[in-house]
């Protein structure tokens, strides 16, 4: 077993994404064979670009508030929301609040 608190894992800047950091909590270095668990933080005013990719996302909002834009509309996000974004669906996470938006983001490996 591996147990590590997210506060003890380095928050790395996300390239080309000002105001965003990522903590790789569980991935191949920890022995994960199938999927990776990362924690992403968006500072107030930060957002991801519109983007899509060949893999799905599963997310869970830990704290803060935000919006999820996808090609199918926009939805507010709050603590306790689980999110599924299918592969190839264009999406964007937006923090218009005054607080950090912190969420788990999972991807297949």
């Amino acid at each position: 077993m591996i147990v590590r608190n997210y506060r003890d894992v380095e928050a790395e800047p996300v390239p080309d994404l000002p105001g965003a950091t990522i903590r790789w909590m569980i991935s191949k270095p920890q022995g994960a064979p199938n999927f990776a668990l990362r924690i992403i933080e968006l500072q107030p005013g930060a957002s991801s670009p519109h983007h899509s990719h060949a893999w799905e996302h599963e997310m869970f909002v830990l704290s803060g508030e935000g919006f999820l834009w996808s090609q199918n509309g926009e939805r507010p996000l709050r603590e306790g929301d689980a999110i599924f974004i299918p592969s190839e669906e264009e999406h964007e996470i937006i923090n218009r609040s005054d607080d950090i938006l912190r969420f788990i983001c999972l991807i297949p490996l």
Copy 2:
């Protein structure tokens, strides 16, 4: 995209596990192809049995306190802990506190 708050999803009893409930947040019915995101709650005094299986767990503690026992020892758990349990490793989650222990538990599909 699918967004749903865990509070809006039924907490189902876990068979043969008194004091435990599970909410299937993202799985095959939501279109997930690779892994499932569930939220498990253990009431005070509840614990899973010692068990092992052919798939790994990735977990994240949302609230409460507990202990993770595995064949490799016992570790305290607290909010913000990410946990990796490899396939076939014997493990048990234990709530010895007076509050609910709530955690995300992910499995491959």
